[in-house]
Amino acid sequence: MKITCTALVCVFISLFLRTSCVQAVFSDDAFVTDWQLANLGPWEKIIPDARDRNRILIVSNPTETSSLLSSFNVSSGQILFRNVLPYTVDEIQLDDDNHNVVVCVDSSSQSWQKFDLHDWFLLDEGVGHAPASTALSQYSYPNDQVVIKGNELHILDNESSLAEWKLELPHGFNKVEYFQREDPLVLVLNVNNTQYLGFSVNGTELVPAWQRDESLTNVVDYAVLDVFDSKDLELNNDMIAERDSSSLWNAYWLRVTTNWNRFMNLLKENHFSPGRVFTRLLALDTKDTTTSDLKFGFAKTLIVLTRNGIIGGLDMVNKGQVVWKLDLQIDQGIKMFWKDNNHKELIVFSRDGHYLTIDLVNGLPVIKSKASLLSKGAVESVIELDDNQCEYLIKFDNGNHQLLKLDPLVDHTDSSIFITEHDSNGIFGRMIVNDEVQDTWQRTVKPTEKIVAFNKRDETNLNSLGLTLGDKSVLYKYLYPNLAAYLVTNKEHHTITFNLIDTITGEVLITQEHKDSPDFRLPTDIVFGEYWVVYSYFSLDPVPEQKLVVVELYESLTPDERFSNTRRSYDPLTGQTNKLQHIAKQYIFPEIIKRLAISKTTNDITTKAIVMELENGQITYIPKLVLNARSKPEDQMTNEDKKEFMAAPYAPIVPINDNFVITHYRNLILGPDSKLISIPTNLESTSIICDLGHDVFCTRVTPSGQFDLMSPTFEKGKLLITILILLVITYFIRPSVSNKKLKSQWLVR
């Protein structure tokens, strides 16, 4: 009976999500607005696939703990399958009994795994010698067949040793990566170390068949460059002028006059011909996505910094096409910031203690300067103090700090600066006094404990001080800004603890412990929205489940009770601020969650969505309203409770709705340090979600539906024609009406 109830609740919620709550990405948007850069990384080993001469196996992107094994179609340049193996592949063997089975061997641990070559299902695994298999030799290209003479590559004829095909070497040629003489002839060249060019034969010529760029693999940081349209700037200036006008009436008058002038200009441009204006208005309907992309702020350049020290600009509306890239020649990139509000200069920090200034001249990057930091240690973290003020706090591996001030004019005498740093062992409060870093407080954890997730409170636009309940009373949100939340795992007691701290005083405001045997091998993450925290962990008791916990922070849990007082002056340093009250609720999610993020929009009016990268490589999202800490079981809900906006009874299992899987059936490989981000657009309804890591994936979500976009089925033409017909009718009817009026005055029938 209980199971049926739960099932019913699940069905109810999925229906609720499907119908009323939010609009998901539907098939007309799928694979149109979203894109993915599926990377392999620099090719380490190439093993020809014995079964099919078009295919090769590539081992790439080796780390200490994993490697990527891909099946690749060498004639078309398509990735057929990618498989992340949790060890370094040293050798690949072919099963003697079944030629559709490969064995991957890790020589350091003497372990092997057997895979089906078609679908890469794991068939068998073991330690020691793999049974009955032959080692596949790593590919090396035959020197006697391909020779490089000067600036040309010659493919020699086997018998005569004369050049059968000649190819001018591309710029930046590095080496011949792969060559296959027959069935079919395939030549793969490596250019600039990270680019791969595939050639095939067309008659007597070698022609380029495909190319792959593997340089933008393993993204560590990003920056977003907006692409503007001149018309948008004009509108923007109008908005600013309106905002800055002295009174509401002036603003209104300004809008009326500017729009009237615009209308008159439109008439003038069309020589006061209504027909021309009409056709022009109709022409606005054409599906010119470029202008709409510019207008709606979808046209952006996503600038990514890779671990290998390469920055690249990706065109976000053009399927992530690489617009430009630049090798910064640094050891390892870690952080990147905009230096100015106009987004003209970037500053990039490298792990070996360098920082580079990059100028974006006409949209193309140029290294302006390169300098080193004072300390010799490796850079651990960089914190930007204030947006675009060119002031950074750099922490080195050896525990030293350096305050890097690029603009000597920036002065903080009128304000005090506090910083919170964290690593897996503790959280440290610091303060900057006279350009010196001073320690204020610290919360270190025991040796058996570890901080696994940390997040500070999101900076959002405040739209409402409280939540309106069903009976029109108000629950006031706790809006104290200096808050951070973190999760601590304890191996000794086998618990996971959620803590909320005041980052100025270091006071722990909330602590709640979970004793349901959390699994420390699986990922945990935490996000901190305006007045709520959502965190995820995997627990084993009573049955293994992915848990999602939501904690909501209020001034008081009694409606209409407000403790913060605008007339009182608060000093966070003394800790004498009004304290919070909280309410928490736990939910169960059917998939293992790797990473969480909150959707961001321009004005934060759209309902928030929790975007989740799952362990299986999919990305999905659920509205925050579904994770409601105040929700109650249906039988406990009063009529007033039901009247609340989007009120739903508490259903512990949050199902995954297929429409909300924004990656569709893509195979994403993002790596352990991926970044799940949300970028606001000019449309309040729409937010761009990107996941940056080994691959780069971007899409758009509309958590409250596309409420600010005219639906494509809106019939502008019909509307205009109706107005026109009405005008014409009025024109003809007017004389007859006035005639009738006159007659009635004279009592003439």
């Binding site: 903080h412 005090s416 809006l479």
Partner: protein, 190 residues
């Protein structure tokens, strides 16, 4: 332009003495239509008798008029009460969803009684001016106002159930000010 002689009728119109030349026949001298003979003219009832009957008839008429006036006043007072059950039923049936028709009817329920209260005197005009019935008419007027109040209350309840009356804290939430906790204090984190 040649000077024309004025018309004869125009001259007579302006001449005040012209009308005096005509002898006007007084309608009083005309005989009453048949059946409208005055009793006195018949001469078969004595003057005393006549006086006594006329006195009793006027007294009876007066008391009748008073009762009639009071009756009428209470009728006017109860007029709004008659529509109370119907209005309660209507506002209950139309639900609390925000639609233009229920909003309009609820607003009419609010504005109608106000107008009616302001024009109470004109509503009671036919029964006013009689000193004997004044106190009773005034009570009826008070009842009239009370019934209008009941109608207004129905309209108020209706608007309130629609959430259109700003009487809760949430209605004034946008005007509440936010507290600035960080006066010049800035906080950053990695």
């Amino acid at each position: 332009m040649s000077q024309q002689e004025p018309h004869e009728w125009a001259e007579r119109l302006l001449n005040t003495k012209y009308i005096e030349k005509y002898t006007v026949q007084n309608s009083n001298t005309l005989a009453s239509p048949p059946g409208f003979e005055n009793g006195a003219s018949k001469g078969n009832i004595s003057k005393k008798q006549r006086d006594a009957t006329s006195q009793t008839t006027t007294l009876a008429q007066k008391s009748q008029i008073t009762t009639l006036q009071v009756h009428k006043a209470w009728q006017i007072a109860f007029q709004p009460a008659k529509s109370i059950p119907m209005n309660i039923f209507m506002s209950y049936m139309s639900g609390t969803s925000l639609q233009i028709i229920p909003i309009m009817t609820a607003l009419m329920l609010l504005s109608g009684p106000i107008k009616a209260i302001l024009s109470t005197r004109s509503a009671f005009k036919p029964v006013l001016g009689n000193k004997e019935t004044q106190s009773q008419v005034q009570t009826a007027m008070l009842m009239f106002i009370a019934f209008q109040g009941v109608l207004m209350y129905i309209g108020y309840r209706k608007l309130n159930s629609m959430g259109l009356i700003p009487n809760a804290k949430s209605d004034w939430l946008p005007w509440e000010e936010i507290v600035d906790y960080n006066h010049g204090l800035k906080w950053f984190s990695n």
